[in-house]
């Protein structure tokens, strides 16, 4: 370097030391971004359009490298402890590493699903991976952020890439519409979020999380309205990203319109990033102010649980249904946030982690079943799937049951832990509502499962609407009859929860199992078989699905490693 050669002013500039950069602490982020740039470079170097396979390969390598790097981080943090690096902007602790691992896995699974999608839809090259990798890096930044400004940047990196990803399929007008809606509402919420940051800065004099916590611990200010307003607005911003009611309205439309692999990615990564930041900011930095924000989270959780579950009931489009169900799941994760203690954080982390597998696996099936054009999302498309493709149907059934919280899946433990955390925090009403909504939720997950295991309607693809409608009516009828199971079960689970017991999630899942039995039994008489409607399942998507199912089942039966993982991540955080 020869600064004097550049400009005369250089000599006059006061010298300063740049902060030490601990590269390991941001290695996964760098890998994700680097991989994205590498794909862009490679695709611009080749003459013709880059073949999908090459992009997929690069993206897989990148995700695996990021996963490896985050696991290395885990070992490092476990050995040397947590720390704050890069001028206080980055928190390098078990919590952040946990999020890096989660996001890396989500990214990997998404690439596996996305490959088949890109080939089938012929919607162009590796830009999907580039944007997804960048979005994932944004979520990782949110997980590692130790400063409100950094959180905001991570949020925007994640979100803006997601907006574009939602618009990725230019053959579908819904895709563009979804993107535009997401973008406008997302910008709105981001503005609110920034306003919140500004108010918090005004009240505390810093955007750095430890400094904020430090200030608040040293200065007890009665009725600090600016801080309160800031907290409220921050919650609005987070609430939008996790799609908590009443900030959820975008999500059904966007989930429905966005390309299916992107929807899965969105559901997993956006949740992971937003919840990571939410937990760090509120539980860690504003832990002392919990009396102020806990009731809000409480209300958001209850609204999300109830509205998500109730509205999911009336959906016929599976992606919309999954959107509402994902709102419901966000409500569950909020239980852990509301508890605002180590157990709550661990429970939320665990939930986010296992939900990643469940939701991306589910969307892998949704992607595959949608056929060319990404349109086959009506419930009737799922009818009789078990006959045509039993493995696919079985995998989806397992993932849906897991989301419903059936025992011996990771989903059960996730619900169990957040409910237990809520009970520990004496939020009995919240726990009761959660269990009731879990029982309702079991209903719509099972509705899809039932459809798959019902005989296929006689309908073809397009022309004959009438038989499809009949099939739908059949499903509706079953739904009605199964209703006689679910609320009875939930009705029993509620007082139980209110009685102060822990682990009422057992009660959540049990009626679900029972209902399944009922619904299978009340099948209509089998209709003529629909042959030749099997959908091709790409090998990579099948791999992703297999990974998701295996994880969900194996760690549902032997949960200790993952529970321990989340728990230790929390220990290294608080």
């Amino acid at each position: 370097m020869s600064p004097s050669l550049l400009l005369g002013v250089a000599a006059a500039t006061p010298r300063f030391r740049t902060p030490h950069i601990d590269y390991l602490s941001i290695l996964p982020i760098l890998i994700m971004m680097g991989g994205a740039v590498a794909i862009v470079v490679v695709s611009s170097l080749v003459r013709r359009q880059l073949r999908t396979g090459v992009g997929t390969l690069l993206a897989i390598v990148t995700s695996l490298a990021a996963l490896g790097a985050s696991l290395t981080q885990w070992a490092d943090v476990a050995d040397h402890g947590a720390k704050v690096t890069i001028a206080g902007a980055v928190a390098y602790d078990g919590f952040s590493v946990f999020i890096q691992v989660t996001v890396s896995i989500a990214m990997l699974l998404t690439v596996l699903v996305g490959d088949g999608y890109l080939r089938r839809e012929d919607v162009g090259g590796p830009e999907l991976y580039v944007l997804a990798l960048l979005s994932a890096s944004g979520a990782m930044v949110m997980g590692s952020a130790n400063d409100l400004i950094v959180i905001f940047l991570g949020l925007e990196i994640m979100s803006i890439a997601l907006y574009v990803l939602a618009a990725f399929n230019h053959r579908r007008t819904e895709s563009g519409e979804a993107a535009l809606k997401y973008f406008i509402l997302g910008s709105f919420s981001s503005a609110i979020f920034v306003y919140g940051i500004a108010l918090v800065y005004g009240a505390t004099g810093s955007t750095n999380l430890p400094e904020i916590a430090d200030y608040l611990s040293k200065n007890v200010v009665a009725s600090n309205g600016v801080l309160l307003a800031g907290l409220a607005l921050l919650l609005v911003g987070f609430g939008f990203k996790i799609a908590a009611v009443p900030f959820h309205m975008w999500s059904p439309d966007v989930y429905q319109g966005a390309p299916s692999p992107v929807t899965g990615f969105m559901a997993a990564v956006a949740k992971a990033g937003a919840f990571a930041a939410l937990l760090r900011v509120f539980v860690s930095s504003f832990g002392a102010e919990r009396a102020d924000w806990q009731p809000i989270v409480w209300a958001l959780a209850i609204l999300s649980l109830v509205v998500g579950a109730v509205l999911a009931l009336s959906q016929r489009d599976v992606k919309r249904m999954l959107a509402y169900s994902s709102i419901n799941q966000a409500g569950f994760i909020l239980l852990g946030v509301q508890a605002a203690d180590g157990r709550g954080v661990a429970a939320s982390l665990y939930y986010v982690f296992v939900y990643t597998f469940m939701i991306i696996g589910t969307f892998a099936v949704v992607t595959v079943l949608a056929r060319t054009g990404d349109r086959g999302h009506d419930l009737s498309e799922y009818r009789g799937l078990a006959k045509r493709q039993p493995l696919l149907a079985g995998a989806l059934a397992i993932l849906l049951l897991a989301q419903a919280g059936v025992p011996f899946t990771t989903g059960f433990l996730a619900k169990f832990q957040v409910v237990a955390a809520a009970v520990d925090a004496h939020s009995y009403a919240l726990a009761a509502v959660a269990m009731a909504s879990g029982a309702i939720a079991a209903f719509f997950y099972l509705r899809v499962a039932i459809a798959m295991y019902s005989p296929a309607g006689a309908s073809g693809d397009d022309a004959s609407h009438e038989p499809a409608g009949a099939a739908g009516a059949g499903v509706g009828g079953e739904a009605g009859s199964a209703g006689s199971g679910s609320p009875a079960g939930s009705g029993m689970a509620d007082p139980v929860g209110a009685a102060g017991g822990r682990g009422g999630a057992v009660g959540v899942a049990a009626p679900g199992v029972a209902m399944l039995s009922l619904q299978v039994l009340t099948d209509e008489a089998p209709s003529p078989e629909v042959a030749g409607r099997t959908v091709p399942v790409p090998a990579l998507a099948a791999t992703a699905l297999g990974l998701a199912v295996a994880f969900t089942v194996v760690f549902g039966i032997v949960p200790a490693p993952i529970v321990d993982f989340a728990h230790r991540a929390t220990l290294l955080f608080l």
Partner: protein, 641 residues
């Protein structure tokens, strides 16, 4: 062998997985054979474990195998752990043994059913769930098995779901069981709240810390669960409807699994019952009442399987009576005895139904002893056994129960003796109607419901036929057990008996009547006399009925009268007058509430959906509502914080 305890459960589970993935490929009848092999292997392992357990000194005869920690969450620590002690071992032996026989029997019975592999899939899972329930070392794992058994039973009861009655029977079983399960759940939470653990041994060792009121509450709540699962008053009507399932399922539910779960649970929590005399008395009273009421109902049924269903309810009542008396050993003994003869009765009934091409109406049977010799003789053994005619197993088992009841609750003993009279009566009536008298089935050929089974007999021409060997072998085996089963526990010979075997589990909690030999003889004679009277009366009335039909109508009418009265007062046994209570509870209250909730949920959904218009500005408005609400809350925090 003790360290392979988990294998007992694993084998049926593996069988289940095999059926799940390869069932369709294996198809009929190989799928059934595979399923049977897995359950039989489980039985073999169980025998191995049993032999090992015998080698352990009686005082420490309990072994817990912890596979892994299932819930490592905070205060709640739940293991996947299985305990073998004499109590669970006894259950395991007869659950696996009888299930294996029923599997074998089903291969033949379900032959030609279009869902043949699915049937065995459920059957294997059913057995596995029951084994989990029995072997679990904590309440939660027991509950998992409890729910698994329930779920499988719904699947199996409604196996022929195209029949409306089968589908609704499944639903009924579901609702009644859920009522019981609620009790179980609350008991579990209460236990955890008071003890901080769900592990049986931990709970029992902390009993003195939790207060007698809580103990009574927990015991009674668990009993509510047992009432649902073991079909006691008032939750028994589902069991009669459960007959809609295929006959092997009925046999499985009644003889080996499911309904005995409640009794087992009560035995398992014997320290709780011992510490709560009020709860014990409740259990005993409900048991005795159930024994009598169900016995009277059984005496009037026309459907062969319904007679057996109410008979099971009645027998379960006896078991509960024994449990409530503190005579756990007697309860276990009766459970085993019941498994033998009720399994035999069901399989015999199935053989009859099969032979008559799906005819279940007693009035359209008769004189079958000439056509189905083997079935007849085995059935006769079962009849005498359940009627408690000495020296068959029923005499010893029921005698033990009644002896204990006589010593502790004399009033309940009277109830039990009357019930015993009814037992002998109804079962003999059944046998007489089915196997004696005239060939009434000639006038009423079947309506053709599934009658194309077993080689296409010409309905009008062929006489009833004996069943093929896979159906008769289990009959013979069970008949032998029902005949000689009494040796398990003879009152004058203690060494190597069931009592000595299970004694360490119950220890001081076991009620000891200390009756004199003379007293025992007297009671035994009373039992035997009652049984013989019942058998004789019923035989004289019913075996000759078809010969002199015109001489009997007065008595018949009277009998129906009783049935109607009981129908009216208690249950809904599926006769032509549905019982008042059950109708109201079932159709009005439960269905009404359920439909109401469903309608409410849908209505709310519709209203909320209107805001979801697809317009961004509406969504933004909703966000703004949220913002204002949050800020509004924060404003309130300024003043009321």
């Amino acid at each position: 062998m003790l360290h392979v305890t988990a294998l007992i459960i694993l084998l049926p589970l593996v069988g289940f997985a095999v059926q799940l993935f390869f069932g369709r490929r294996l198809a009929d009848p190989l799928a059934g054979a595979v399923a049977t092999i897995f359950v039989a292997a489980s039985f073999v392992v169980a025998v191995g474990v049993f032999v090992d357990l015998l080698g352990v000194h009686a005082a420490v005869r309990s072994f817990t195998q912890v596979l892994w920690t299932w819930l490592p969450v905070g205060g709640l620590h739940v293991d996947i752990g299985f305990t073998v002690d004499p109590l669970s071992m006894t259950m395991v032996l007869f659950v696996t043994g009888i299930s294996a026989l029923i599997h074998l029997y089903s291969i033949s019975y379900m032959r030609g059913d279009k869902d043949f592999p699915k049937f065995f899939l459920y059957l294997n899972l059913f057995v596995a769930s029951m084994l989990i329930l029995v072997l679990a070392d904590n309440l939660l794992l027991t509950f998992v098995g409890w729910e698994g058994v329930g779920t499988c039973s719904y699947w199996l009861i409604s196996f022929w779901f195209t029949r409306d009655s089968a589908a609704s029977a499944g639903k009924k079983a579901f609702v009644y069981n859920r009522i019981g399960d609620a009790g179980f759940l609350v008991a579990m939470f209460l236990t955890f709240e008071k003890v901080g653990s769900l592990n049986y041994s931990v709970i029992f060792s902390h009993l003195h810390e939790i207060g007698s009121g809580n103990i009574t509450a927990i015991a009674l709540l668990l009993f509510v669960g047992a009432v649902g699962k073991s079909a006691q008053i008032p939750l028994f009507p589902w069991l009669a409807d459960a007959m809609e399932g295929p006959t092997p399922v009925s046999a499985l539910i009644h003889a080996a699994t499911m309904v005995t779960a409640g009794v087992y649970l009560m035995c398992r929590i014997n320290p709780l019952l011992h510490a709560a005399p009020d709860a014990s008395l409740t259990v005993a009273s409900v048991g005795a009442a159930t024994a009598l009421v169900a016995g009277t109902i059984a005496a009037t049924q026309q459907d062969i399987k319904k007679v057996l269903a109410f008979s099971t309810v009645s027998q379960l009542g006896y078991m509960m009576l024994a449990v409530g008396t503190g005579a756990y050993e007697a309860a276990i003994f009766l459970m085993i005895a019941h498994a033998f003869y009720k399994g035999l009765l069901f399989l015999g009934a199935g053989s009859v139904i099969h032979g008559l091409h799906d005819n279940q109406d007693l009035k359209r049977m008769g004189n079958l002893r000439r056509y189905m010799k083997l079935t007849f003789w085995t059935f006769l053994v079962a009849t005498l056994a359940i009627a408690a005619v000495p020296p068959l197993v029923g005499f010893w088992a029921k005698g033990d129960v009644l002896d204990a009841a006589y010593a502790r609750y004399p009033v309940l003993w009277v109830v039990g003796i009357i019930a015993a009279l009814f037992t002998a009566y109804y079962i003999t009536r059944l046998t007489a109607l089915a196997f004696f008298g005239e060939d009434r089935w000639r006038d009423h050929r079947p309506h053709g419901v599934g009658s194309d089974v077993a080689g296409g007999h010409d309905a009008a021409a062929g006489p009833p036929h004996e069943s093929p060997w896979p159906m008769t072998v289990p009959l013979v085996v069970l008949a032998a057990c029902a005949f000689f089963g009494g040796v398990l526990s003879l009152p004058w010979y203690a060494k190597g008996t069931l009592l000595q075997w299970v004694d360490p589990v119950f220890g001081a909690n076991l009620y000891n009547a200390h009756q004199s030999a003379g007293m025992l003889w007297t009671l035994g004679v009373v039992d035997a006399v009652v049984a013989v009277i019942g058998v004789t009366v019923a035989y004289r009335i019913w075996a000759t009925r078809s010969e002199h039909p015109q001489l009997e109508p007065a008595f018949l009418q009277k009998a129906w009268y009783i049935n109607e009265a009981f129908d009216f007062a208690i249950g809904r046994p599926g006769t032509r007058l549905a019982a008042f209570t059950a109708t109201v509870v079932d159709n009005r209250v439960i269905d009404g509430a359920v439909n109401g909730v469903a309608a409410l949920v849908r209505g709310t959904g519709g209203a909320l959906r209107r805001v979801q218009s697809g317009y961004v500005r509406n969504y933004a408005l909703a966000i703004t509502v949220g913002i204002v609400a949050l800020l509004g809350f924060m404003v309130t925090r300024l003043w009321w914080s």
